[in-house]
């Protein structure tokens, strides 16, 4: 009699696994919203991924065609809801380019200040949520503790914590408040009297001073963490050619080593805002900063780009705050809601935390655009996930999808 383990046929039969379809999502914590990934698995290995989107589709573009651009601003907030200010900015700039509007210097400085502060908040969520995807909970709590203060500051500026509609056509809706109660989180962290008041600029400076010192701690907690490196380095590699072909932008593109930042290389109306500001574009590879296992375009590089962009954003916010007191002009020029849009078209991209968000307006002489298009950066960034996830372990899918840092509100619009 032959023992089962000795017969090759039987062994083969014994360990053979059937193809199994696994639904990851639409309600899954690591899909960053309502994304459904249909995974075709053989045991632990993925050999096919199909993404199903649209669970959050509101046809924002159709709504945009039935409203004047100023009325559409609140809808852009709800696209990338973690970076509402940056969404507002892209849309406002596109409309201003179309109607040939000039914005005063003060509004420009405020826009840079607020947009970069929102970039910090957004990347903090990106960092925290990525840790969460990989199974560590504490970075998430730290990230949200810090983000909370930024949201408090935003609330003092415009009254909203998530959907700001602050940057609008013609400038911004409010000037910075002179005197605010110190954000409770900031008072606790810096040991100040929670009942004290200070100017908005002072509160923001206090926060940035405090945050800057914490960044090395995040690096200890995540970036240099051995388990984190094991999960991310050398995984989900996107070559520069693939990144360009798949239309990847933002940290995904920078992580693949393509040096293209719209704040420096974009449309003149956008790059003019950043004239006189000193900042570095963060691009992989990172040389001796990177762990041995990291390769160009992997998960780790994308994550590290975000971490360094926070440092750059802090620098930009500080410069904007220094410019603010002497900035000329009003914070907003009047703009009528029913201003006619000329018979022309404009496509403008801005560098949002998650990549290049593009707004395309076609006017036909009416106050409502004939076509209002929002090109989502996450939409393009996510489209590469199907290819990246092929041949990896099931447990690495959240690591890859998380490293793209997607927001479904922006993808589905």
């Amino acid at each position: 009699m032959v023992l089962a383990t000795q017969s090759e046929e039987l062994v083969e039969f014994d360990v053979r696994t059937d193809e199994m379809l696994i639904n990851m999502g639409p309600q899954h914590p690591s899909t960053h919203g309502v994304l459904r990934l249909l995974l075709r698995t053989d045991g632990e290995i993925i050999f096919g991924v199909e993404s199903h989107l649209g669970y959050l589709h509101r046809c924002a573009e159709k709504i945009g065609e039935n409203l004047s651009p100023v009325q559409w601003v609140p809808y852009t907030d709800r696209m990338d809801y973690l970076a509402g200010m940056n969404m507002n900015l892209g849309m406002a700039l596109a409309v201003e380019k179309l109607i040939g509007m000039q914005v005063p210097e003060k509004a420009v400085v405020l826009r840079v200040l607020i947009a970069e502060l929102n970039r910090i908040a957004s990347h903090l969520v990106g960092m925290g949520a990525y840790g969460l995807d990989l199974g560590t909970f504490s970075p998430f709590l730290y990230a949200f503790r810090e983000r909370e203060i930024i949201l408090d500051l935003f609330e003092e500026v415009c009254g909203a914590r998530l959907t700001y509609s602050y940057i609008t056509v013609g400038g911004v809706t409010h000037d910075l408040p002179a005197n605010i109660p110190i954000p409770p989180g900031l008072a606790m962290l810096t040991g100040r009297d929670p009942k004290s008041t200070m100017s908005w600029i002072d509160a923001c400076t206090l926060f940035l001073d405090w945050l800057e010192k914490r960044i090395s701690e995040y690096h200890t907690l995540l970036t240099r963490n051995h388990i984190f490196i094991k999960r991310t380095a050398g995984m989900g590699v996107i070559s520069p050619e693939k990144a360009a072909s798949y239309g990847c932008t933002g940290p995904v593109l920078h992580g693949s080593g393509i040096d293209w930042d719209l704040r420096r290389d974009g449309d003149p109306i956008y790059t003019r805002m950043y004239e006189g500001f000193d900042f570095k574009v963060i691009v992989a590879p990172f040389g001796s900063d990177a762990p041995r296992e990291a390769v160009l375009g992997d998960n780790w590089c994308r994550f590290y780009v975000r971490m360094l962009e926070v440092v750059e954003a802090i620098k930009l916010v500080r410069q904007a705050m220094a410019k603010y007191p002497t900035a000329q002009g009003e914070y907003r020029v009047p703009h009528k809601m029913n201003t006619k849009l000329p018979k022309d078209e404009v496509y403008l991209e801005t560098e949002c935390p998650r990549g290049a968000m593009g707004f395309y307006f076609v006017g036909n002489g009416d106050s409502k655009p004939m076509r209002a298009r929002a090109k989502s950066s996450c939409f393009c960034n996510l489209s590469i996930a199907e290819e990246l996830c092929e041949g990896v372990f099931l447990a690495d899918v959240p690591a890859i999808v998380g490293s793209l840092d997607i927001v479904m509100g922006e993808i589905d619009r």
């Binding site: 989107l53 649209g54 589709h57 046809c59 573009e61 159709k62 065609e65 380019k97 179309l98 050619e241 693939k242 360009a244 072909s245 798949y246 239309g247 393509i258 293209w260 290389d265 022309d344 078209e345 404009v346 496509y347 991209e349 290049a356 593009g358 395309y360 076609v362 004939m370 076509r371 298009r373 090109k375 939409f379 393009c380 489209s383 590469i384 290819e387 589905d412 619009r413």
Partner: protein
């Protein structure tokens, strides 16, 4: 390269396939005949002087004349080159109905040129009803599979019911 130079280069290569150009617009664009769009895009990407390796945006625009009920659907391609640092907009004008499946207008797919066109074309198919020929898997992406009609068309009638349920 300036849009003028790109236009001259395309005229030289494709002659009568280039229909018109509006280079004075805020968004300088060149209109190309539908049957040539895949070749034009391939040329724009692979030519050493152009190297358009990044497709920023691909979308439809419905130019419906409400009075006559006629018009055209445009497919708009925004592209740029990282090495050459220039950008251009290419357009294709299609009839609103055509000989594709369900009477949809047909347009050659550019998925072979840029991978990102895959999802963008699915979106344009979903919302505008443009049939992209040669697309590997042309199915709806944002709307549900069983959705009827193409919502971003100007003559789209808002449904009152969805699968037997009242929708408004």
């Amino acid at each position: 390269m300036t849009p003028q130079q790109i236009h001259e280069l395309l005229l030289e290569k494709f002659q009568d396939k280039i229909e018109s150009a509006n280079l004075g617009s805020l968004e300088p664009h060149i209109t190309v005949k539908a049957e040539a769009i895949a070749d034009v895009c391939q040329f724009l990407k692979s030519d050493q002087r152009l190297q358009m390796n990044h497709l920023n945006n691909l979308c439809g625009v419905d130019h419906l004349d409400a009075k006559t009920g006629t018009g055209r659907i445009e497919v708009v391609y925004h592209m740029q080159s990282y090495p050459q640092r220039h950008r251009i907009c290419i357009k294709v004008a299609l009839p609103r109905t055509g000989d594709g499946p369900n009477g949809l207008p047909k347009c050659p797919s550019v998925t072979k040129v840029w991978d990102v066109a895959n999802w963008h074309e699915r979106e344009a198919f979903d919302l505008f009803g443009i049939h992209f020929e040669g697309h590997p898997k042309l199915v709806r992406i944002l709307c549900d599979e069983g959705w009827e009609g193409h919502p971003l068309r100007k003559d789209y009638v808002f449904p009152t019911h969805y699968q037997g349920m009242r929708a408004n």
